[in-house]
Symmetry: C2
Subunit: 109 residues, 2 copies
């Protein structure tokens, strides 16, 4: 770490590294380790975003999200496609925070 | 934190919250606190991504990045436009890591 960041990584750099590390951790479970299969995506969603998935009553929601994110319809999510999910969730949180400025919190997932 | 995350936030949730917090920190410096002005963007780049900017010999690179990211050409970056930068950087790091698998590192900024 120290050679790349003489004074340590910034918050933004840590985020970028974390997103890469999370993607690679789940993508490496089966098949190609450069993409998330549907099974890997489910594992990611049910572990990393469990606070979202546990409130979903519709069992097909993860399948539909996968289909929507899979821009080239190859049945796999590459890193760019995966980032669209992260970006979409962050934008949703941001909009929620902006629309409820009186709740005293600017960070809500 | 504990009420939203009974077992603490996951790495992905922490990233999403951090990205929101960083954006809001810089967006709140002047003018609208929902967007980054050019000055705020420069401040963000020179602080959060200094390891990138300090190697740039071209003084116009931040201006050009701002123009490229500013999809609706309103002279401001909203959160979605800001995320395109984060996503772009993460994809660039990911591609770099994928193209040099022998260096023993999967995380490079």
């Amino acid at each position: 770490m120290s050679s790349r960041y003489p004074v340590g990584p910034t918050e933004t750099e840590r985020c970028i590294e974390s997103l890469l590390a999370v993607f690679q951790r789940y993508a490496g479970k089966d098949g190609s380790n450069c993409t998330l299969s549907k099974q890997e995506f489910k594992s990611f969603m049910n572990t990393e975003l469990a606070s979202f998935t546990k409130n979903q009553k519709d069992p097909g929601v993860i399948d539909r999200m996968m289909k929507k994110l899979d821009m080239n319809s190859d049945g796999q999510l590459d890193f760019s496609e995966f980032l669209n999910l992260i970006g979409g969730l962050a934008v949703a949180c941001h909009c929620q925070a902006m629309s409820s400025p009186t709740d005293g919190s600017h960070k809500r997932l």
